[in-house]
């Protein structure tokens, strides 16, 4: 069957808001043409590793960009076939450099900079998510991102002057851009005339730093003023990779992984109530015989569901008890309560 790529949805005029997803789209457009479809799902809960992009090729569910690229190279979609072993070594090194430095730079400019986060990023992310998680997830993402870029100094409040903020992260990004530009040289792509996996990765990050219109586009300014060759490279890549994207479709089958009701209520509702049979009969990655598998999983699942019911009931009962015992909600007649209060009050005052 046709492989499906699950990604974060589109934003800023790009197919996806996430650098890893962009990298994967680029990679797939390098190695295969129109052999896959894109599913904009925006829910990390459906992925086995809790991250998007995720690839589903009929029998395997693979989460995470590096795992997917490794899997695709093994199954015949290898963008690095033409590279010598030395070039391959270099490509590994550049990939890890990009993963470290450019991720930090992107997270810093998007989440640590309040002006950008409040002005553009939060609204772009929340337009992707359904109602309850729309208000929760962007804040959570920001928390995680700020923790990661803490080493460059914390959050910049909006309205802070440009010259008072520290320049550590910009120096770091500039170093990285310089390295990339030197490596690129006069070539069309990093290793000659044909794009490879490094190009996919680098473009995924650079595109999101270069194209979006955000209130404080420091990296865009650095790129367009000091690294014109990288800008030209990005334009070239955009024409090359995003020229004829496959259509976005709905997922052909629901994910077998646990979906929580907050991040994707529709998915969860469907999985839990509407299609219980589909969930149980979803083919898994293991290659055991079907019948054996089925009876085993159903027994386990029955057990699991029973326990879930117990847990939820216990939780609700505990909650109710807590509420009643602490007097948050008083059960009984209103008048009686008032009288009791009065008696207590007068008693206390007479003591004094």
């Amino acid at each position: 069957m046709v492989a499906e790529l699950y990604i974060y949805g589109r934003a800023f005029g790009l197919p996806s808001i996430d650098p890893q997803c962009l990298a994967l789209i680029s990679y797939l457009s390098i190695v295969s043409h129109q052999e896959y479809t894109i599913v904009e799902c925006n829910d990390t809960g459906i992925s086995p590793t809790g991250e998007l992009p995720m690839l589903h090729d009929g029998k395997n569910w693979i989460g995470g960009a590096s795992r997917i690229i490794a899997y695709l190279s093994k199954t015949g979609y290898n963008a690095n076939e033409d590279l010598s072993s030395e070039e391959l070594a270099k490509s590994v090194a550049y990939t890890s450099l990009v993963d470290e430095s450019l991720t930090d730079a992107l997270l810093y400019s998007w989440f640590a900079d309040s002006e950008n986060f409040l002005g553009a990023i939060r609204s772009s992310y929340s337009s992707l998510f359904p109602i309850p998680s729309r208000y929760i997830l962007p804040i959570q993402m920001r928390k995680a991102a700020v923790q990661r870029v803490q080493k460059y100094g914390g959050i910049i409040e909006s309205g802070a002057l440009a010259n008072t903020e520290n320049t550590k992260v910009y120096d770091m990004a500039r170093d990285c851009y310089r390295v990339l530009e030197r490596k690129l040289g006069q070539n069309d792509f990093f290793f000659g005339a044909k794009p490879t996996s490094v190009d996919a990765k680098v473009f995924g990050y650079l595109a999101l730093q270069l194209y979006p219109e955000i209130p404080n586009p420091r990296f865009q300014m650095i790129l367009s003023s000091q690294f014109p060759r990288l800008v030209a490279y990005c334009d070239r890549c955009r024409d090359e990779f995003f020229a004829n994207l496959p259509d976005t479709t709905l997922p052909s089958e629901p994910s077998p992984f646990f979906t929580n009701p907050i991040s994707s209520p529709k998915e969860w509702f469907k999985n839990t109530f509407l299609t219980p049979t589909v969930v149980t009969s979803t083919p898994t990655t293991s290659s055991k015989s079907q019948g054996d598998e089925k009876s085993k999983t159903t027994k386990e699942e029955r057990d699991f569901r029973l326990k879930r019911v117990y847990a939820i009931t216990a939780g609700v009962v505990a909650m109710a008890l807590y509420v009643i015992m602490n007097g948050l909600v008083v059960v009984g007649n209103e008048d009686e309560d008032e009288e009791e209060v009065e008696v207590n009050y007068t008693g206390a005052s007479s003591d004094e």
Partner: protein, 421 residues
């Protein structure tokens, strides 16, 4: 005595000082203070300072105080006194000196003071005395008499620390207690480290021919940045991770580590990033999350100098720190993926190195060599653990490195040339 009582009351109120500068016809400037309150305060202090100094000679002292009183009254009538700040301070010191020594030859000093006492001593010294001993004769106070039995003596310092002549590197040291160095040797002069960051600093300093003295340290809190290693310089300043690179560049000798050209420098940056992300993750996993390593070697090396209870508690705290730091860059700690990536990274390094002595075929090591060597050396000299429960899991990273003979030789050669000699 009635004068003194008045004066006590007047000190409670704050003196309002008005300074007027007048230029005399001969060119000198006379500063004048105009305030009645100020003058009564002055009178008060005259009384108090004579009070302190007089312990036996009551009558003389009384007369002295009255003379000063007259003087100040005279000043009151003219409303002007020329004073300088310098004389004020000296006066203060004399007043306090008499307070502390409680001398007995007061006849002369009392007269001296009464002459000096035109200037006001500081109000704090006086108020302290009043607060604790009232306005009675404090020289006779039993507390002062008692204190006089214990005069303060100053002895010369028995030991003064000499300034270090070369930079001192405080770092985790020495290395794992297996392999190249014997325990006897390491006690005399510690070499190497089991901590990658420390070893990185050592090799970088050695490669740049910078002399330093290594002091084993196990307490990250002693560093200004909260992280080991750090350098203490002879001039009293410290170098932490932030300024290390630039400090080395400023202080290295000319003939030191080889220069890379632009293209090579760019590639070196990429390979350093590779080692510090992928191999680092695998090493952290091996040290902290393989139970056999964690419970024996890691815990003992990082926290072994504490009491065993603290060792346990602190090592678990550090383990959770490591876990959260690893989770910043990934969604889950997946052993299989981490080791797969580490294997790819190590293979990339092996291919890049080839059969040369140092990276990029140089004759002298560079910064990239310092990083790669530190990782390889720590991994290769890690204690081997053999038990059934572990089943070779903890040695996986070492085995991955040992697959590449050139990396093993490379690490060994650097150790022999720069450290073991």
């Amino acid at each position: 005595m009635s004068d003194r009582e008045e004066q006590v009351i007047s000190t409670e109120s704050e003196p309002v000082v008005e300074i007027v500068e007048e230029v005399q016809p001969d060119g000198s400037i006379i500063r004048k203070k105009k305030t009645t309150r100020k003058i009564t305060k002055r009178v008060l202090t005259t009384g108090s300072s004579t009070l302190v100094s007089s312990s036996t000679n009551e009558s003389e002292h009384a007369s002295a105080s009255t003379t000063t009183l007259e003087e100040s009254k005279h000043e009151l009538s003219t409303d002007a006194t020329a004073i300088t700040t310098d004389t004020t301070t000296t006066d203060t010191t004399t007043a306090t000196a008499t307070t502390s020594t409680t001398n007995t030859d007061n006849a002369g000093s009392a007269v001296d003071l009464s002459v000096d006492a035109e200037q006001p001593p500081s109000s704090t010294g006086r108020s302290f005395k009043y607060r604790f001993f009232g306005e009675g004769d404090s020289g006779n106070h039993p507390f002062y008499k008692y204190l006089a039995k214990f005069p303060l003596k100053q002895s010369p310092a028995p030991h003064t620390r000499s300034r270090p002549i070369k930079a001192i590197l405080y770092a985790y040291a020495p290395g794992w207690h297996v392999g190249q160095e014997s325990s006897l040797e390491s006690e005399k002069s510690p070499v190497g480290s089991f901590d990658v960051e420390s070893l990185k600093w050592m090799s970088y300093l050695k490669f740049n021919n910078i002399e330093f003295e290594l002091k084993p340290a196990f307490e990250p809190g002693m560093s200004p940045s909260g992280k080991l290693p750090f350098l203490a310089l002879p001039n009293g300043s410290f170098v932490t991770a932030d300024g290390f690179e630039s400090w080395v560049q400023d202080n290295k000798s000319q003939s030191a580590a080889s220069k890379l050209d632009l293209q090579e420098a760019a590639e070196a940056v990429a390979f350093i990033a590779l080692a510090e992300s992928k191999i680092h993750a695998a090493l952290l996993y091996t040290l902290w999350f393989e139970p056999s390593h964690f419970h024996t070697t890691t815990r003992q090396h990082y926290f072994g100098h504490y009491h065993w209870i603290l060792t346990k508690v602190l090592s678990y705290m550090e383990k959770s720190n490591v876990a959260s730091s690893m989770l910043l860059t990934r969604t889950q700690i997946d052993r299989e993926l981490i080791f797969e990536e580490a294997a790819t990274a190590i293979e990339a390094l092996a291919v890049q190195l080839g059969d040369k002595d140092y990276f990029f075929g140089k004759s002298e090591p560079s910064g990239l060599d310092a990083v790669v060597f530190s990782y390889l050396h720590v991994i290769l000299t890690m204690p081997r653990i053999r038990n059934a429960e572990d089943a070779g899991r903890s040695g996986e990273l070492t085995r991955i490195v040992r697959k590449h003979e050139n990396l093993f030789k490379y690490s060994q050669n650097i150790w022999k040339r720069w450290f073991a000699a």
